[in-house]
């Protein structure tokens, strides 16, 4: 369907994006980048913890 429409119009559907939709793409890209930062930040925390816990026993 999309391909038919694209072939009829002769260009990519993305070229039909309005300026508002472009703004949405920018916002979503920015949000995705922030999400990646969150994941990276957490991974740094998580991966630098020791893999085996320190065990202390008394009595």
């Amino acid at each position: 369907m999309m391909k038919q429409l694209q072939s009829r119009l002769g260009h990519s559907w993305r070229s039909l994006l309005t300026p508002a939709a472009t703004g949405v793409a920018i916002v979503i890209s920015f949000g995705a980048g922030s999400l990646v930062a969150l994941v990276l930040h957490f991974l740094l925390f998580r991966l630098t913890l020791p893999t085996t816990p320190f065990i202390y026993v008394a009595f």
Partner: protein, 400 residues
């Protein structure tokens, strides 16, 4: 066929905009680093007693230097003499519930002009944890005394033990430590400190992931399950919900404390406590040259020279329940070792004190750990030395 002149130019532009994506990544990382910086400056240990297992590496929680500094700043005025207690489980007060732990007695003994903070950690060395915090606060609290304990003739590595080295690396890469060649040399030696640990601490000093996620772990929920918890829900609960619930060893009847299979093992350790340091010569004991060299080497490198006069090393002893069963010559050897340790530490510019000879068997919960009654005696013995140090070191040091 469509008219090519009316067609819009063909584009394969991806939905995600790289510039926006990278801007989001950079902004997100900056925001999280900022959150970490802010969290590090806030005291969230408002109910702090000591570093109990749920806020320590046993539960996979690694307190940052910054969060401990914030806790001390919130509770201790620089106008007072700040007494930071480091060392191992003996000074932590294993077997002493928080209301009767020995550092509370020490605070009572010293009075309101002093502020005692217990940063001892189970299984740690004199140069671990508390020592790092004391060094970081050396200028902010000019009237500061650091206390740690160690058995006779054992000293400390300049970079401490593996389990608590994260605190040393944390302070090192955040610029809190003095330059100290033996320590700096060991820290940069890949055979002593893993490269990934150094890279992790270096990155943390820049993006503060540990401060941010420790805050989250403490307040919201733990992203890392605690192996100390019995259920999954409890293992993920916010660490701030947990209190210092130390076992009261005095609740165990005295007759049961030293019984069982551990008696012979502990008796063996007590017999060999100072064996490797001395030779029997005639009726006396002589320290082995190798032992003296080892002690001197480690004591000379353990702490930066400038901090030694305000560092008090408490020489730990075994319970009299065991030492009273030793042959007289072995008891004599242990006494000599305590005396030699004190003079050895003092020779290198530290202060040192015997933990005490006035303990009864009931003052111990096992071979090494004190009960609340033993803790009170230790507090009296140590307080006398702390007051003496304070009078000598700080009588001319004005409060900031």
């Amino acid at each position: 066929m469509s008219n090519p002149t009316n067609a819009a130019p063909r584009t394969n532009r991806p939905f995600f905009r790289p510039v926006s994506l990278i801007a989001g990544l950079a902004t997100g990382m900056l925001g999280l680093a900022g959150a970490g910086f802010l969290a590090a400056r806030t005291n969230w240990h408002t109910e702090f007693t000591r570093l109990h297992p749920m806020i320590a590496p046993e539960s996979r929680y690694q307190p940052t230097v910054d969060e401990l500094l914030a806790m001390i700043r919130a509770n201790s005025s620089p106008e007072k003499v700040l007494v930071i207690v480091g060392g191992n489980s003996v000074l932590y007060g294993v077997g002493q519930p928080a209301p009767v732990m020995w550092t509370r007695s020490l605070q009572e003994q010293l009075g309101p002009d002093y502020s005692v903070v217990n940063l001892a950690l189970r299984g740690s060395r004199p140069t671990d944890g508390g020592a790092v915090i004391a060094e970081a606060l050396r200028d902010e609290y000019p009237r500061l005394i650091y206390i740690a304990n160690v058995p006779p003739l054992l000293t400390a590595d300049a970079i401490g033990g593996d389990d608590y080295r994260f605190m040393l690396l944390d302070a090192y890469y955040k610029g809190y430590l003095l330059p100290w060649e033996p320590r700096d040399r060991s820290l940069s030696n890949p055979g002593r400190v893993a490269r990934e640990d150094r890279i992790g601490a270096w990155l943390d000093a820049r993006v503060r992931y540990r401060s941010a996620w420790n805050w989250w772990t403490f307040h919201i929920f733990s992203t890392v399950p605690s192996p100390l918890s019995v259920s999954i829900l409890q293992s993920l609960a916010a660490r701030g919900q947990f209190r210092d619930e130390e076992t009261n060893i005095e609740a165990i009847p005295f007759s049961q404390r030293f019984a069982g299979a551990s008696f012979e093992a502990d008796m063996g350790i007590t017999r060999a406590f100072t064996e490797r340091f001395y030779d029997r010569i005639g009726d006396g004991w002589q320290m082995r040259e190798a032992a003296r060299t080892e002690f001197d080497t480690f004591a000379a490198e353990a702490f930066p020279t400038a901090l030694r006069s305000r560092t008090l090393i408490v020489i730990s002893r075994n319970s009299p329940y065991y030492t009273s069963r030793l042959a007289p010559e072995l008891r004599e050897r242990d006494e000599i070792a305590v005396t030699d340790s004190i003079s050895g530490w003092e020779r290198h510019g530290y202060e040192a004190v015997d933990s005490g000879t006035n303990f009864d068997p009931a003052d111990f919960g096992d071979r090494t750990h004190l009960t609340a009654s033993g803790g009170r005696k230790l507090a009296v013995n140590v307080a006398a030395k702390v007051r003496e140090m304070s009078a000598r070191l700080f009588s001319n040091t004005p409060a900031p």
